[in-house]
Symmetry: C2
Subunit: 139 residues, 2 copies
DNA sequence: ATGCACTTGCAAATCATTTGCATTTAAAAG
DNA sequence: CTTTTAAATGCAAATGATTTGCAAGTGCAT
């Protein structure tokens, strides 16, 4: 299963950073790596505690923060709702949010990326990161 | 003063919408129209209550929501901080946030706008609105 | 002037997230 | 394997931003 491969990846990173691999963390890492949607903390908590009832929402939040700091996951605060998460392993991309369903669609545009860097530079800034979200409805 | 002109504008819109012009709202409208930075609710509350101590934070929030619904102001939830507001009268623009000072710089790029619409369409979506924020540091 | 629906301030509620603390546990050391 | 101990956990309470219930106050059409 690809999931266990990814789990291992997370664990390696965490171990290397001197972080203990607890039972709860294993479950959360598994759930995270199996998610292809962009779940929020509560959703992850529900999926995790279904596998192991000893997982608490607090630990989900703490683990998410940890992984975020290690750069293993990305946190997205989309409009009107809790933050949603996704593994960081894929290529950089931005998001289109379906206003009716909340579904998140990923896309990338090197043209836009380039324009952003150019604009920042023109304003005298070094672009550290950006947030580009499109909100739309199915045609 | 330009401020009083804008105040009047806000009042017209609100009156037309059947909204009562209270003393508190007048002060909040004035403070909003005089702001050229992008203040948050607490900042607006402080500026407003300095002019009229009867203004409460609750009313600031209620008025902001009201104006937002009428399309008179824009609310921006930038990363890591409370929402910030600005009058809606100017042209559409996006924002560059100085990571060190929190300063907000406005910019616009018709190229990026066009690309966004194009991307949404390619994904089968009608673009309703978007959020483009650049986070950077002075060169 | 008068009435009443709209507004207000305050306190309490909400929502997402974080933190304090006493208890448990991973995993390094022996 | 045991011991040791700093790190991690769950729970409850705290936070920060914003909203809401409610009793009291007030625009403004008549």
């Amino acid at each position: 299963m690809e999931a266990s491969l990814k789990d291992r990846d997370y664990e390696q990173v965490l171990r290397k950073a001197g972080v203990r691999i607890t039972r709860q963390r294993q479950v959360i890492l598994r759930v995270l790596s199996e998610a292809s949607d962009h779940p929020d903390a509560m959703e992850l908590y529900q999926r995790a505690s279904a596998l192991d009832s000893s997982v608490s929402l607090t630990t989900v939040y703490r683990t998410l923060k940890l992984l975020q700091e290690k750069g293993e996951i990305h946190r997205h605060a989309f409009e009107g709702g809790p933050a949603r998460f996704e593994p960081a392993d894929s290529e950089h991309h931005d998001h289109l949010i379906d206003l009716d369903t909340g579904q998140v669609i990923e896309f990338e545009s090197e043209k836009i990326e380039a324009l952003q860097r150019e604009i920042a530079r023109e304003l005298g800034y070094d672009l550290i990161h950006h947030r580009l979200e499109l909100y739309g409805r199915k045609l």
